[in-house]
Symmetry: C2
């Protein structure tokens, strides 16, 4: 087991993520942080955080990668259901509350549920 360390870079990344309530793409994070650290460092920190269970990696229905703080998850104990809403106009991704009833075929074992709804958020409707 690798022992992780507490560094300024990691704290910067965390701060940005905490300031944003929505999931952020690596692009967005790079735009904000590019003066303070290297792209590769951001890349490594993000994936490291995912390993630690601090972040979720979220795939949008467009195939883009987003990262979101695991507000509801304890470390190393992710929820297995991820419901998100992507606004096709402002491209923000938010967590969604939804109830879902699934009829899986017989003998199927469900591990993860990933629901991505896209459309327009309230701000972009107005």
């Amino acid at each position: 087991m690798i022992k992780k360390r507490n560094t300024p870079s990691k704290n910067e990344v965390l701060a940005v993520l905490k300031a944003n309530k929505t999931a952020m793409s690596q692009d967005e994070l790079e735009k904000i942080l590019k003066d303070k650290m290297d792209r590769v460092t951001i890349y490594r920190i993000l994936y490291s955080f995912c390993d630690d269970g601090i972040l979720h990696k979220v795939m949008s229905d467009e195939g883009k990668t987003y990262f979101a703080l695991c507000h509801d998850c304890e470390q190393g104990h992710h929820h297995d259901s991820h419901f998100h809403f992507r606004c096709t106009n402002c491209n923000t991704i938010e967590c969604l509350n939804a109830t879902l009833s699934l009829n899986l075929p017989k003998n199927y074992i469900q591990k993860e549920v990933n629901l991505m709804v896209s459309g327009l958020c309230a701000k972009c409707v107005a």
Copy 2:
């Protein structure tokens, strides 16, 4: 409007997709078709079919791109709900039947719903 043509390559691609009931990744298609045509040709045919409404482009929760025939969609008239099951063992993706009740926040407009459940399919459980 571009007038599409009927070519052997396109028919090959269609034949392979029809032979498979599940969604296929570009990789898989390339493996099967590489002797008959170029990768780029496959790429262009797939995206061309998507334009035509013959294929769905499906993103897995892992970020991989899959293509599936639109069995239920008429040309140019996609369903806006795509429910899929990805087996983490054999990596096949199947269409899923599920009912879903969403509580979107106020004023949100829903365009597309994309549900990806991953787990083990019946074959891989046994």
